[in-house]
């Protein structure tokens, strides 16, 4: 399958990854090779099969609607790159 640089840019935008223009061509070649590998799946006789999302089709449990973890703000704040007054800081969003 052919993959061009515009498609790489579009996927990278969806993935929130910055790719430099000089790496776009290599990424396109790599992606095309992997997508060629995926083409083999079209030959599998699976049209009547239900997708298997987890081994053994487990029934996902629901927990009781009870809070178990207490306030851990201080522990989480230590990990953040930038905090102020209990808020995560990011670049200005609204001009």
């Amino acid at each position: 399958m052919s993959v061009d640089r515009a498609l790489v840019r579009s996927i990278a935008e969806l993935a929130r990854l910055s790719i430099s223009p000089q790496h776009e061509e290599a990424a396109a070649i790599e992606l095309a090779a992997v997508l060629d590998l995926f083409e083999a799946l079209s030959a599998a006789p699976v049209d009547a099969l239900q997708p298997l999302s987890h081994p053994g089709d487990p029934e996902l449990r629901l927990r009781d609607d009870v809070a178990v973890a207490g306030d851990q703000r201080n522990a989480f704040e230590v990990l953040a790159p930038a905090m102020s007054g209990g808020y995560y800081l990011v670049p200005k969003v609204i001009e």
Partner: protein, 488 residues
């Protein structure tokens, strides 16, 4: 120090008889870790001070009375198990400053049993890789040949056990990441059934495939560790409440009458001659011990590689979306705006292979392609699981090469990611179906270890213990140690 002491059974025996203290054993372990590090680069973090203090506490408890099942035994974690207060990097620059505020369930269990954590093992970044060359902290070298890879992604764990630094180390297996490095390093790697061991606190790669495992020198040792870390955990929504593995009967059962399936597809084109010979010799040994060999067909395994490399990157692209430079992890300098913060933090924080898999997964999940790739891969996944289920109506376990080749040269496959993906041909199907598997040393090819992969039906780890332990009772391959270099 005899290599024989570097089994869990020997260490537990020596500790319980008072022949060695946990502190002395920990000092030996730390000395060997220090000597190994410049050669193998198998540890990202070494925990000298806290290990000594844990060991002293174990010795004090032992002096008072009964102790935990692993009391005083040093071990290492693959660096994706969260350890409260201890750096947990997942092999990534993204998490090179991450000190988790909580511990993984696996860590809690091992600490409760009295294990002494001596360090966090190197690994492929976010467990994506089969060679341990994709680590922000540099590649791990195979103790059998320092010019070769140890396998991955649990390459640091396998190298530490092979070099007899620790008797056991934890790993995780999403597509073969415990079994393949165990095979490459000549040690035993056990991946339990999906849902057997809690994934709570194990940094996620592909959640429907990830499973914690253990690397040790023998199947018996792996079984003893699994009995400690297995069990239901409400914090993991896919943890299963099933009966514990009946280890003692499994260790004493005979190989006589064991039905072993030989999947034709596991012995296909691309298998190295020496690997094929070693595995066939292992099957012949099973026959001598009274087992029977049955040819098995797994036709859907032809699609296991493409199905895996759709599903795993798709889940990874979703799981790794949380690394955005806002709440924790790497943040780029001077972001222009929020989008620039996300894009540059992720581009700087993730290595090349992780970025490649995020792009693949994002594409496979994107509008217009979801049905053609992700949904279809999940349908193929069912086909593969049904293949295995049919096989286990005829045989107790399946056996074949863990990997088609022995450990390859560092750098040999870096330029060709597809070649690396294709080498996972015998391991990924086991994860897609959620089955338990073990790799045991079964010989050498060109002086490098070969692994025999044994696979059983869901929840039948007991059959793997019987088959693997029985084989290790009549062979010596698991006792072979790599050459001691310098002071290691």
């Amino acid at each position: 120090m005899s290599a024989e002491l570097f089994t869990l059974s020997a260490q537990l025996s020596a500790l319980s008889r008072g022949e060695i203290s946990s502190r002395a054993l920990t000092e030996i372990t730390l000395e060997r870790a220090a000597a190994s590090q410049p050669l193998h680069n198998a540890l990202i973090t070494t925990l000298g001070e806290s290990a000594r203090s844990e060991a002293d506490a174990c010795d004090a408890r032992r002096a008072q009375g009964p102790v935990g099942t692993l009391s005083g035994v040093p071990y290492a974690h693959k660096d994706l198990f969260c350890t409260a207060g201890v750096l947990t990097t997942c092999g990534s620059k993204m998490l090179s400053n991450f000190v988790p505020p909580y511990s993984a369930a696996v860590h809690e269990s091992l600490q409760e049993a009295g294990g002494v954590l001596i360090g966090k093992a190197n690994m492929d970044e976010f467990a994506m890789g089969s060679s341990n060359e994709h680590s922000h902290f540099g590649p791990v070298k195979n103790p059998w040949d320092l010019t070769r890879v140890p396998g991955g992604s649990s390459g640091g764990s396998a190298a530490l056990v092979a070099a007899r630094v620790v008797a056991f180390a934890t790993g995780s297996d999403t597509g073969g990441s415990v079994r393949q490095p165990a095979a490459f390093c000549g040690v035993t790697g056990f991946k339990p059934t999906y849902g057997r061991v809690s994934r709570h606190g194990m940094i996620a790669y592909a959640s429907s495939l990830d499973q914690a495992g253990v690397i040790a020198t023998t199947v018996e040792d792996c079984a003893r560790i699994l009995s400690v870390v297995s069990g239901f955990d409400p914090r993991d929504s896919t943890s299963s409440n099933v009966a514990a593995i009946a280890i003692e009967p499994a260790l004493t059962r005979s190989l006589k009458g064991l039905r072993i399936g030989r999947p034709r597809q596991w012995f296909g084109a691309g298998i190295e001659d020496g690997v094929g010979t070693a595995v066939e010799d292992a099957l012949a040994e099973y026959v001598r011990q009274g087992a029977t060999i049955v040819d098995i067909d797994l036709p859907a395994s032809a699609w296991s590689i493409p199905a895996y490399y759709v599903i795993a990157p798709a889940e990874a692209s979703s799981n790794l979306a949380r690394f955005d430079g806002v709440r924790y992890g790497h943040r780029c300098e001077n972001p222009r705006d929020l989008n620039d913060l996300y894009r540059r933090s992720r581009a700087e924080g993730f290595g090349h292979e992780v970025q490649r898999r995020i792009l693949i997964g994002t594409y496979a999940l994107s509008a217009g392609y979801y049905d053609a790739y992700y949904r279809r891969a999940q349908q193929v996944r069912r086909l593969i699981a049904e293949d295995f289920a049919r096989a286990f109506t005829k045989v107790d376990v399946l056996a074949g090469p863990t990997s088609p080749t022995v450990a390859f040269k560092l750098g040999e496959k870096l330029a060709d990611p597809l070649a690396l993906y294709l080498a996972d041909v015998n391991t990924v199907g086991v994860n897609l179906a959620g089955l338990p598997g073990v790799s045991v040393p079964c010989g050498f090819s060109n002086g490098l270890p070969v692994g025999l992969q044994l696979v059983a039906a869901t929840w039948r780890e007991d059959l793997l213990i019987t088959a693997g332990h029985g084989y290790q009772q009549v062979t010596e391959w698991h006792r072979a140690t790599p050459p001691e270099r310098d002071h290691v």
